[in-house]
Symmetry: C2
Subunit: 390 residues, 2 copies
């Protein structure tokens, strides 16, 4: 029994919870709040509703919407300049993982200075951050509750993992109503992102009884509610369950960390123009097959949580069912089984494998991972890249 | 779907976690820390070990061990005088629910002033509290993670519930090793206290998907590990599971509140000389029978969590099994089915019922409760009191 730490924000959850934005910002002591979002989110009414709540409580704000998917270092540096120039003292993020991670990165630089590269890795932040309030608009990244921020280093073309307890937001406001404006494809990608968080944290070497509870429950909810949530934009029962699943998967991986799926996805995200959740979804079954010999009992429990009938099966047979069920779910949601990359050389594959081996998520993968293992996994997932090179 | 709030402390869990006391206190910014415990805890080595950790990091401290079971208003008032006189600026509690609740009450008065009666009820605390670090030495009260403090008003002879988010400790250090010095009777009483928290919060009107996860898991752990924990003082697997169960039951009831069992126990605690957990254990099956028509489906899920075989049973039959399993567990641990009170009049019974109806926990009981209902329940539980009076 290792000594483990478990940290969460204050969580406000429920239909209409967005209405709590103004009161929550005041409670955090904000006098001028920096509002981070992105154009996709702003196109819907949620940001405007959040700003209305700030106006109602008489709170000054500054908006910053220049955030891209897989957010970049220079975006953070521009945003923090605005934060400081405008004299803000608190941050509100309304959006998916990208705006939330930019908000976290701005918070770091606002009080700690330097460039975002200075904080890559674990526990590099020394000074307290300004208050951080987040409203997730996707059910996937879990960033609303995690101690992670992921920012692309554009020069090195890698995703940097910044990990620190001080990145856990002060308040997370989870309103399933806001999930109704996401299209089916984004709903699928973000939901499968949450599934990869839940499964990787459950089998992580840093898993604890407390993270296991959240991980398993997230798997149960995703198995039951992700398909209907993708199928129908206004199914509020499914949206509520998926918001809770993403949150619980976030609580699990924030405190138990992840595995090889994410170590690999972090490399591909900086390279490919597709959603991080889709990349994870493609990688996950391959990595599960690789990990199976390390954690067959836990995989059997995953099968049960996925709703598979495992009565009378051996652990090994049940574990097989878990992988099969994940493949089926990914296929049902229209995600392909491999990733097409036409201009990838063998040397590129070597570089991806080398970088993935350096990623913090490799450390907690349940099975020891070598560069050769990662090369083999990348080769299976990126089939065309290899064919091109041969 | 109501809007709900969920708050937890930072949780440090694991064998040997007590060693984190010094570093944690420093991290909270303490310069002189007020250490609250009680003579029963001090008799073992845990308080001395905690003080050693404070010495190692060079942190000044003041000790206060004058805490009784079911702690009293005047104990709090004496303690806070010492805290202020000695110029302390943070609080460490090492003990069961009583020292932790005294520590919380001292924290309130240290920065908010007045007497502890001023803060009875919900959200009466206006100013921030000093940093609060807690090390529970029992697996029961859950106070290490809750927004509750329970203090006896000695003049009115009632237990006051003080409820505020600011009472959630900053850091809870959970070390199962410290549970090894508790005798079987205290282990049983505190474990059944945790069971009553889990069951009452699971069926509470304020339950949420997040509190349900913790409540059900606590029930599962208690059903499996409370008997072996009572049977063997050094069974560390059982101690670890019970520490986790008490913590999760605490997370559940801190955020979902409780029900009639606790509304009634709060009255009897101020009257009887027995552990709060034993009182809850006696009351729980009676209140479950009363509540069954309000939440038969949830009771059926409780039966499953308690390890009952409910395959093929109707919800009603499964719910019956839940109550039967609780009765069996209570009996196995040597707790009687009723409470002997030889000098209780009918008027006393009326007063108990009137006061229980005013308790905050009645509001979230799943079935509407009248004064007559409470009178009938008290009459069944306190059999000799009634017989004496007739």
């Amino acid at each position: 029994m290792r000594i483990s730490k478990f940290v969460t924000p204050e969580i406000i959850y429920g239909l209409g919870a967005l209405s709590q934005v103004g009161e929550s910002a005041l409670r955090l002591g904000a006098s001028k709040i920096f509002v981070v979002s992105d154009p996709g989110v702003v196109a819907h009414k949620w940001v405007e509703q959040a700003l209305d709540r700030l106006r109602q409580v008489g709170l000054a704000f500054e908006v910053w919407f220049d955030v891209s998917s897989n957010p970049k270092d220079y975006e953070v540096h521009e945003a923090v300049k605005c934060y400081l120039d405008m004299g803000c003292d608190a941050i509100l993020a309304v959006g998916g993982g990208s705006p939330i991670d930019v908000a976290k990165a701005v918070a770091i630089l606002a009080t700690n200075g330097g460039v975002i590269q200075d904080y890559e890795g674990v526990n590099k932040i020394t000074r307290p951050l300004p208050p951080l309030l987040v409203v997730p608009t996707t059910a996937g990244s879990g960033s609303e509750v995690t101690q992670f921020a992921i920012i692309v280093d554009t020069r090195r073309k890698v995703k940097m993992s910044i990990i620190s307890k001080s990145l856990v937001p002060d308040i997370a406001i989870i309103d399933p109503a806001v999930l109704q404006t996401k299209d089916a494809r984004l709903t699928a990608a973000t939901g499968l992102d949450a599934l990869s968080h839940a499964i990787e944290s459950f089998v992580s070497l840093a898993a604890t009884p407390l993270t296991d509870v959240h991980a398993l429950n997230a798997i149960r909810l995703i198995a039951r509610f992700l398909r209907p949530s993708v199928a129908c934009q206004t199914d509020l029962e499914a949206k509520g369950a998926m918001a809770m699943a993403a949150l619980q998967a976030g609580l699990a991986f924030s405190n138990a960390i992840l595995g090889a799926t994410h170590a690999m996805a972090h490399q591909l995200d900086a390279l490919l123009d597709q959603h991080h959740g889709e990349t994870n979804a493609v990688l996950l079954p391959y990595v599960m097959e690789f990990n199976q010999i390390a954690c067959v009992e836990k995989f059997a429990r995953i099968a049960g949580a996925l709703g598979e009938n495992i009565t009378g099966l051996s652990s090994w047979e049940a574990a097989d069912r878990a992988i099969r069920a994940v493949r089926r779910l990914v296929r049902d949601l229209g995600i392909p089984e491999s990733i097409s990359v036409t201009d990838l050389s063998g040397e590129d594959l070597n570089r991806l494998s080398r970088n993935a081996l350096k990623d913090a998520c490799v450390i907690t993968n349940p099975r020891d991972v070598t560069e050769k293992d990662l090369y083999d996994l990348f080769s299976r997932v990126l089939k065309r890249g290899i064919q091109n090179d041969q």
